[in-house]
C-alpha cells in the first residue's frame, strides 16, 4: 500500500459513498434543524433517466463551489442529491474527508422519501471514522459519514457540506465520472481578482466554462454514465479510465502544459528541499557501503539495496506529512518510512556517494497520470537517478532522457525486491513528474524489453501405469516476476508458504501431494530466485479403454480469462516478459505414444506463443515459450488478444494419447 499524495486525491476516488466538501459556515456541523434547501427539492424532481440501466443509485445533482481566498486557500461547498434505485443502495450516504489542516464548517443531510415525506439527519446519524484500516499506516485523516434517515428505494438523499481545505494545495480534481451515473454536475471556482487558473480534462472532451461573475468560473456537465468495470477482463485500473478535470490556481496556473508540469515539479522540489540532507550517520553508512565499489553499478546497487532491505515500510500521514517526507536523518535512525521517506533517504545516500537523484511523484499504476492533464494527483513517490554520461551499463534498463539531455534511471525504492535497473511492471508505461527544480517536467516511464522479466520452468516426471505422476520441478524467475516471488517469501512464514504452494500446485494437479519444496534466494536482487519442488499426483493420466491420456503441460498456466463481449476499454497485459517451460515425462512401460497435439506457433506484434510436443522412445517432451512485448493495447486489439488467449488455453488443455504396445 502506498501513500496518497494529496487529500484531493483521497477525495477523488470515492466509490458508492459520495465524497463531498464545501464553503462558509454556521456554528455547528449539523447546522440545526432546517427545511430541505430549494436546490435539493428541485433536484429531487429530476426524473430517473433511462441510461442508468441497472445502476443501484443515480446522482441527480452534484455541484462544487471552490471559493479561493487571496492566499490561494479554498473553501469547498458541495451540494449533492442521490436517488436510491435498488435495495443494495440503501446503505449509501454522503461523507466528508478532513485532516488536521482542514475544518468542516457544516454538514447537513435531508431525505425525501419515496412517499415525499421529508426527514433531516440528526447528530446521532453522523459518525466520524479514523483512517485506520491499514495496519502499517499512521494517518491523521478522518471521514465524517452520515447514515441518512429513510434511505430506502425511491428516496432522494440531499447533502450539503462546507469545508475549509488544507492551505498548501492549490488545485482541485473534479471527478466527473463515478461508479454510478450522474445526471447533472457542476464545478464553480471563484478566484480573487487577478488570480489565474488553468484547466485540463482526462478522458472527456473539454467543456467551456461560463464566467458567472468576475473571475468566477462555472463548468456544467449533463448525463455522465457510470464507469462499471466489474466484469471487464484485463482492464487498466479504474482511476485511469474515469473522466476527470483538474483546475490549478497556484503556480501551475500558467500557459502551456510544459510550464504547468514544471511548476508542479518545482513545487515538489521546494516542498522536499533539505529533507534529504545527510546526517553524519548517513554519510558514514554510505561511505562504508560504497567503499571499494569497482564501478557505478556496484556503488549504486549497494546503496539501493540497503534502502530496499533495511527501511521497513510504514506509512506516516500527518496533515502535510501525507505529501512531505520526513528528514533523512530521522528516517535513517528509525529505519522505517513510506515511499517518499524511502526516496528521501535514497537521495540522501546517493548524494553522499556523489550521485545526483531527484523525486518523482506519480500514480502507482499506469494510465492515471495523464501528460495532458497537469496535476499533483498521484499516490506514490519514486526516484529518478541521474546517470553520468559515461555510464552505459546494460543492467540499467529503466532509463529515460529528460528534455535537457540528462539521462535518468527510474527506480522504485519502495518495491523492496525489484533490482535497481529494473522497474515494477505496473509502473512501466506510466508517467511521472521529474521534480528537478527549474528543469522539472512530465516524463514517460519506459516499457522494458521482455528479457528483463519472466521465468523458466523445467520439470522431469515419471508416469506409472496406475496413472500416478511423480517428479521434480525447478523454476527460476527474474525481474518483477522474481520480485513478486521474493515479496511473497518476505511476508509469509514456512507454514503459509506450504499452504499457498499446495493450493497453487493443486490448481494444475488436482489431488497432488507437495513432497518437498525449497527456495534459493540470492541476496543480490539482480540474481534469479529459484524454486525447486517435488510432487506426486495420483491418477494424473486417465484410462479410456485401451488409451491412456496424458496432459503434456503438467503445471503452470499463462492463460488469462477472456470473453466475447464488445471491447471499449484498453487492454492491460500486466507485464512484458518471457516465460518458458519444458517438461519431460517418462511414460509407463508397455505404452507408446499414439498421438500428440499439433505444435502451436502464434506471432503477434504485442506477444508470441510457441509450443510443441514430441515423443522419443519412452519420453514425452513438451516445451513452450510465451513472450509479451507491450503492456497496454487499444480496444481494437481485443480480437487478437482473445485469439492469443484461446490458443494458449487450448494448448494448456491438450492431451497426448498413449496406447498399449
Amino acid at each position: 500500500m502506498k501513500i496518497s499524495l494529496s487529500s484531493a486525491t483521497a477525495r477523488l476516488f470515492a466509490t458508492a459513498l459520495l465524497v463531498f466538501f464545501c464553503a462558509p459556515c454556521p456554528a455547528n456541523w449539523f447546522g440545526g434543524k432546517q427545511d430541505p434547501p430549494q436546490w435539493g427539492l428541485d433536484a429531487a424532481k429530476t426524473p430517473t433517466p433511462t441510461y442508468v440501466k441497472d445502476a443501484a443509485s443515480v446522482i441527480l445533482y452534484d455541484e462544487y463551489l471552490e471559493t479561493v481566498d487571496a492566499q490561494g486557500r479554498a473553501v469547498e461547498r458541495e451540494r449533492e442529491a442521490i436517488r436510491i434505485l435498488k435495495p443494495q443502495a440503501r446503505h449509501e450516504g454522503c461523507e466528508v474527508g478532513y485532516d488536521v489542516d482542514e475544518k468542516i464548517n457544516y454538514f447537513r443531510e435531508w431525505t425525501i422519501a419515496a412517499d415525499q415525506k421529508q426527514y433531516q439527519a440528526q447528530d446521532t446519524d453522523f459518525i466520524d471514522k479514523g483512517d485506520n484500516g491499514i495496519p502499517i499506516m499512521l494517518s491523521t485523516r478522518k471521514t465524517r459519514v452520515v447514515y441518512p434517515p429513510a434511505a430506502d428505494v425511491g428516496a432522494v438523499i440531499i447533502c450539503e457540506s462546507e469545508e475549509l481545505l488544507e492551505p498548501y494545495l492549490k488545485e482541485t480534481v473534479w471527478q466527473i465520472q463515478s461508479h454510478i451515473p450522474v445526471v447533472f454536475q457542476a464545478l464553480e471556482v471563484d478566484l480573487p481578482a487577478g488570480r489565474a487558473h488553468s484547466e485540463a480534462w482526462h478522458k472527456f472532451p473539454p467543456v467551456k466554462p461560463v464566467e458567472v461573475s468576475p473571475n468566477h468560473w462555472r463548468w456544467e456537465i449533463k448525463d455522465m454514465p457510470a464507469l462499471d468495470l466489474r466484469d471487464v477482463k484485463s482492464r487498466p485500473v479504474w482511476e485511469a479510465l474515469a473522466a476527470r478535470m483538474s483546475v490549478q490556481w497556484g503556480d501551475a496556473a500558467v500557459d502551456g502544459k510544459d510550464n504547468q508540469w514544471r511548476a508542479l515539479g518545482q513545487w515538489t522540489t521546494t516542498l522536499e528541499a533539505n529533507r534529504p540532507d545527510p546526517s553524519p550517520e548517513i554519510t558514514a553508512q554510505t561511505q562504508s557501503l560504497i567503499a571499494g565499489a569497482p564501478d557505478f553499478y556496484t556503488k549504486l546497487s549497494r546503496v539501493t539495496e540497503y534502502v530496499q532491505k533495511n527501511i521497513r515500510y510504514f506509512i506516516v500521514m500527518r496533515g502535510i506529512g501525507g505529501l512531505q517526507a520526513n528528514h533523512a536523518a530521522d528516517i535513517f535512525r528509525n529505519r522505517y518510512g513510506d515511499c517518499k521517506d524511502k526516496t528521501t533517504l535514497l537521495i540522501s545516500m546517493l548524494q553522499v556517494a556523489g550521485i545526483h537523484a531527484v523525486y518523482m511523484p506519480l500514480y502507482d499504476h499506469r494510465g492515471v497520470v495523464d501528460p495532458d492533464v497537469p496535476s499533483i494527483m498521484g499516490n506514490h513517490m519514486i526516484t529518478a537517478i541521474e546517470l553520468p554520461a559515461d555510464v552505459q551499463d546494460p543492467r540499467l534498463k529503466a532509463v529515460v532522457k529528460a528534455k535537457d539531455g540528462k539521462r535518468y534511471l527510474i527506480f522504485d525504492p519502495t518495491d523492496e525486491r525489484t533490482p535497481v535497473g529494473n522497474l515494477p511492471s505496473e509502473e512501466q508505461g506510466s508517467y511521472g513528474i521529474l521534480a528537478a527544480g527549474a528543469s522539472s517536467q512530465i516524463i514517460a516511464l519506459p516499457v522494458l524489453d521482455p528479457d528483463a522479466n519472466g521465468s523458466e520452468l523445467k520439470g522431469v516426471f515419471t508416469l506409472a501405469v496406475d496413472g500416478t505422476l511423480t517428479g521434480s520441478i525447478d523454476s527460476s524467475s527474474i525481474g518483477p516476476k522474481g520480485a513478486d516471488l521474493r515479496q511473497f517469501l518476505k511476508y509469509t512464514d514456512e507454514k503459509e508458504r506450504r499452504q499457498y504452494w499446495e493450493k497453487s500446485v493443486a490448481y494444475s494437479l488436482p489431488g497432488v501431494t507437495l513432497d518437498s519444496f525449497q527456495f534459493i534466494q540470492p541476496s543480490d536482487l539482480d540474481k534469479p530466485i529459484e524454486f525447486h519442488y517435488k510432487v506426486t499426483a495420483r491418477q494424473y493420466s486417465h484410462q479410456a479403454g485401451p488409451l491412456l491420456l496424458v496432459r503434456p503441460r503438467v503445471i503452470g498456466s499463462y492463460a488469462e480469462s477472456f470473453d466475447d463481449k464488445p471491447r471499449i476499454y484498453p487492454i492491460d497485459l500486466d507485464a512484458t516478459g518471457r516465460w518458458r517451460a519444458s517438461f519431460d515425462i517418462t511414460i509407463p512401460p508397455g505404452y507408446v505414444v499414439d498421438e500428440t497435439p499439433d505444435p502451436v506457433s502464434l506471432d503477434l506484434d504485442f506477444a508470441s506463443y510457441h509450443s510443441s510436443v514430441s515423443a522419443k522412445g519412452n519420453l514425452l517432451h513438451y516445451e513452450r515459450e510465451y513472450v509479451v512485448r507491450q503492456v497496454e493495447l487499444p480496444p481494437a486489439k481485443y480480437a487478437a488478444v482473445r485469439h492469443l488467449e484461446s490458443v494458449i488455453l487450448s494448448d494448456e488443455k491438450n492431451a497426448a494419447v498413449l496406447k498399449k504396445q
Binding site: 441497472d54 435495495p87 443494495q88 426527514y119 439527519a121 494517518s139 528509525n334 501431494t513 479410456a544 491420456l549
Partner: protein, 688 residues
C-alpha cells in the same frame, strides 16, 4: 424490547496486542462503592511495571526457534497485570523477530476510550542481535478511531525504530482507568499469533468487605492452559505463569475460535450490590430464570395477540396447519434484519413507539429478526400450540460456552413447536427460511430454551444431507471444433437456496444474477462462460429454487483422431478442500451436510463416437460421505451422472486422515476424461 447483545468477543480476532480495552459501565448503584475504592486506591502502594529485561546471549543470537520451526517471530515473554486497586492494566511484551514478516509486530495499536481511561507509561526499544539498543523516542500518536454523538474511541499508535530480522522488540504500556468507572474483570487471551515462551498474568482484585460493596470471590475459567493453573498468590492476586504456548489456531474450515483459544476468564456474577452468585450453577439458574421471565412476558398471548391469531388460523385447523399459517403470516412482515431499521426521525414522524410486546410487532408490521421470532411464539401460544422460544449462540460466530458466565453470548431467537409429539425447530426470524428448517448457523447451536418453569440449556439438531441439495442438470451440445453450448438447470434447497433468496431481499434480482454467475465460475471448465437466464421461485421459499444458465465456450482438446473433454463438466476444476493439507490440528466445521447431483448429457458432434464409457467410480467413506460416478451411452450422446453426499457437519481432528483420503480420491475421480474418437463420415450427431 427484548435486549440482545452480541458483544461477546471470544470469537473475534484479537487485536495485535492481544488485549482489548474492556467495555465500561458506570453502575449507578455502586457509585458509593467506587468512591470508596477510589479513596482506598490513593493510599495503596503503586504497582510497579515490569522492568525491561537484559536479553540473554541465547536470545540475541537466536536465528531460528526449535520450538517454533519456520515461525517469523516468537514471544520471548508476555506479561499482563490487572490491578483494580490502582485501576490499571499493564502490558509488557518481548518479541524476537526471526523473519521479515515478524517485523509487522513492531507497530503497536492500543485502543482506548478517552475520558474513561488513559494510556500512560509507554516505553519501547529495539535491541539488535549485536546488543545495540535503539529506544523509542518518537512520541506515540493518539488517533481517533471513531466518534459518534456521545462516544469516542481512540487508538495510541507507535512503531518501534530500527527493526531488523534478529531484533528483540520490547515495549510496555499501561491503561489507567478512571476511578469512577466500573472496571470489568479481565480475560486473559493466552494464545498469540506466534509461539510464546513464557507468560505471566496477574489480577489484583478489589477485596470484599468494603462498605456497601460485596463482590464474590472471582470466578474464573481456564480453557486449556497447558496444565498450568491459576493460583491466588501471597498478595491475594490471581496469577498464572505458563510456558511454551502454541500459536492460536489458524486452519481452513475451523469451528468458531471461542472454544478453541486458550484463555482464562474472570467473572463477577453479582446480581446487585448486596446479592451475589457463588458459582456457575447459581449463575445459570439465575440467568435462566430472568431470561424465562423476560421472554414469557414479551410473548404473553394478550387479548390483542389472540385476536390477531384468530384472523390467521381457523379453529378447525390441525396443529400443523396452525403452525404453518402463523409462520407464513410472520414471514410476510417487514424483517428489518433484511431491510433496514428506521431512524429515530422516521419513527417519530410515523409515530411509531418502541416495541415492548409481541403485539407491538404485529401492529407495526415490522420488527427485528428476534422480535419476529418471538411474535411467532406469542401467536402460536395464542393458537393453543405447545411452543417454546429458544435463544442460541450463532454457530457462524461462536459456540455456546457453559463456562463463560454471560448471557451476552446468546444471539438469535428460534421457536420450537411440538407437532405430533415431536419437536419441530423453526426459524421465523430468518426471512425465506422454509417451515421446519433452520439457517445453518442455528443448527447444532446451543442456548436457552423455555421450559415449564424456567429455561434449560438445549441444543438444536443437526441437518442431514437430504435437507441441502444441489441438483444440476445440463444438456450440452458439442461441435467438431471443441465448442460447447447448452443449458444448465440448478435446483437448490436448504442453505444454498436460502442464501440466494436472502441476498435477493437486500439486492435487486440483477445483482443476485451477477453474483450467482460469479459463484459458478469455479465450477466451469477453463474456456467456458455462463450467462444467467432466469430464476424460478426466488421469492417462494416453499419450493425448491431453480436457476437456469446458458453455457458456451471451448471445451476440451481436439486431435487428429480424438476429442478429449472433461468427464465431469462442473467438476473439472480443483475446488475440493482438504486435498493438499495432510495434517490437522483443529476440528473441522463444514457448516452443514449436503448432497450434490450432476446429470450432464453431452450431445456428440457429427463424426465422433465414444471411445469408451467412463470407468464407474464409487468412493465411500462409511457413515460419512460418498461419491458415485457413472455414465450411460446412447445414440449420439453420453450421460454422465455424479452423486456426492456428505452427511456430517463437524469432525474431530482424529478423523482428518480419513477425510483427507476421501477428498483426495474425490479430487482425482472428478478429473476423469471422456474420449471421443472420429468415426467414418456417415456417422451423425446432434446439434441444437
Amino acid at each position: 424490547m427484548i435486549s440482545q447483545s452480541r458483544e461477546l468477543e471470544n470469537n473475534r480476532p484479537h487485536d495485535r496486542n492481544n488485549f482489548r480495552a474492556p467495555s465500561f459501565r458506570l453502575l449507578s448503584g455502586e457509585r458509593v462503592g467506587c468512591l470508596a475504592l477510589f479513596l482506598f486506591a490513593i493510599v495503596s502502594p503503586a504497582f510497579l511495571l515490569a522492568q525491561f529485561q537484559q536479553p540473554t546471549d541465547e536470545e540475541l543470537k537466536m536465528t531460528v526457534d526449535p520450538k517454533a520451526p519456520g515461525a517469523a517471530a516468537v514471544y520471548l515473554y508476555r506479561e499482563e497485570i490487572t490491578n483494580e486497586i490502582d485501576h490499571f492494566h499493564s502490558v509488557y511484551e518481548r518479541i524476537k523477530v526471526l523473519a521479515e514478516k515478524g517485523k509487522e509486530l513492531a507497530t503497536v495499536t492500543i485502543p482506548y476510550i478517552p475520558g474513561a481511561d488513559k494510556i500512560t507509561k509507554i516505553e519501547g526499544r529495539t535491541i539488535h542481535a549485536d546488543g545495540t539498543i535503539v529506544p523509542l523516542t518518537v512520541k506515540p500518536d493518539d488517533l481517533m478511531t471513531f466518534k459518534i454523538a456521545d462516544f469516542q474511541e481512540n487508538s495510541i499508535v507507535f512503531t518501534l525504530p530500527s527493526v531488523e530480522v534478529g531484533s528483540i522488540l520490547e515495549y510496555r504500556y499501561r491503561y489507567s482507568y478512571n476511578y469512577l468507572i466500573y472496571m470489568p474483570a479481565p480475560t486473559w487471551w493466552i494464545q498469540q499469533p506466534y509461539f510464546v515462551h513464557r507468560e505471566h498474568y496477574s489480577f489484583q482484585s478489589n477485596f470484599p468487605g468494603l462498605h456497601e460493596v460485596q463482590i464474590a470471590p472471582e470466578a474464573h475459567v481456564v480453557r486449556d492452559a497447558n496444565g498450568s493453573a491459576v493460583i491466588l498468590d501471597k498478595h491475594d492476586a490471581f496469577t498464572l505463569d505458563i510456558t511454551d504456548v502454541p500459536p492460536q489456531p489458524n486452519e481452513d474450515w475451523m469451528p468458531p475460535l471461542n472454544t478453541l483459544k486458550w484463555r482464562v476468564a474472570f467473572f463477577r456474577p453479582f446480581v446487585s450490590s448486596k446479592e451475589f452468585l457463588r458459582n456457575g450453577k447459581e449463575f445459570w439458574d439465575h440467568a435462566e430464570k430472568n431470561w424465562a421471565d423476560e421472554v414469557r412476558d414479551f410473548t404473553n398471548p394478550t387479548s390483542g395477540i389472540k385476536k390477531i391469531t384468530a384472523e390467521i388460523v381457523a379453529p378447525s385447523d390441525t396443529d400443523e396447519q396452525k403452525a404453518r399459517k402463523i409462520y407464513a403470516a410472520v414471514q410476510k412482515l417487514d424483517n428489518t434484519a433484511f431491510s433496514r431499521i428506521k431512524s429515530k426521525a422516521e419513527r417519530k414522524k410515523e409515530k411509531l413507539k418502541d416495541i415492548h410486546k409481541a403485539e407491538d410487532v404485529w401492529k407495526q408490521q415490522s420488527g427485528t429478526d428476534d422480535e419476529i421470532a418471538l411474535l411467532y411464539v406469542a401467536l402460536a401460544r395464542a393458537a393453543g400450540l405447545k411452543v417454546a422460544p429458544m435463544q442460541v449462540v450463532n454457530r457462524n460466530r461462536a459456540i455456546f460456552d457453559n463456562d463463560y458466565l454471560s448471557i451476552e453470548q446468546l444471539d438469535d431467537y428460534l421457536a420450537v413447536v411440538v407437532l405430533d409429539g415431536k419437536d419441530v425447530y423453526l426459524d421465523p426470524g430468518q426471512k425465506m427460511c422454509p417451515f421446519g428448517t433452520l439457517h445453518w448457523k442455528h443448527n447444532l447451536a446451543s442456548g436457552f430454551r423455555l421450559s415449564e418453569k424456567t429455561a434449560v440449556i438445549d441444543m438444536t439438531p443437526s441437518s442431514t444431507f437430504k435437507e441441502s441439495s444441489h441438483l444440476l442438470t445440463a444438456d450440452l451440445y458439442l461441435d467438431q471444433a471443441g465448442n460447447v453450448n447448452g443449458v444448465a438447470r440448478i435446483v437448490m434447497s436448504g442453505p444454498e437456496a436460502l442464501h440466494w433468496r436472502q441476498l435477493a431481499l437486500e439486492n435487486d434480482v440483477e445483482e443476485v444474477k451477477k453474483q450467482f454467475i460469479e459463484s459458478m465460475r469455479d465450477s466451469l471448465p477453463d474456456g467456458v462462460n455462463a450467462d444467467f437466464d432466469h430464476f424460478i421461485a426466488l421469492d417462494d421459499y416453499n419450493v425448491n429454487l431453480m436457476a437456469i444458465v446458458n453455457v458456451s465456450g471451448n471445451l476440451g482438446s481436439v486431435t487428429s483422431k480424438h476429442f478429449i473433454l472433461p468427464g465431469l463438466f462442473f467438476e473439472s476444476r480443483a475446488k475440493h478442500p482438504f486435498v493438499a493439507q495432510d495434517k490437522r490440528l483443529t476440528p473441522i466445521d463444514l457448516h452443514y451436510a449436503m448432497m450434490e447431483r450432476d446429470d450432464v448429457t453431452y450431445h456428440l458432434p457429427p463424426g465422433y463416437a465414444i471411445e469408451s464409457a467412463l470407468p464407474p467410480s464409487n468412493v465411500v467413506w462409511p457413515d460419512h460421505a460418498m461419491l458415485r460416478i457413472n455414465s450411460t451411452i446412447t445414440d449420439g450422446s453420453v450421460k454422465v451422472a455424479r452423486v456426492f453426499a456428505r452427511n456430517f457437519t463437524l469432525l474431530d481432528p482424529k478423523e482428518y486422515n480419513d477425510l483427507h483420503d476421501f477428498y483426495q480420491k474425490v479430487a482425482t475421480a472428478d478429473q476423469v476424461q471422456l474420449v471421443l474418437t472420429k468415426t467414418p463420415p456417415t456417422a451423425k450427431g446432434n446439434q441444437p
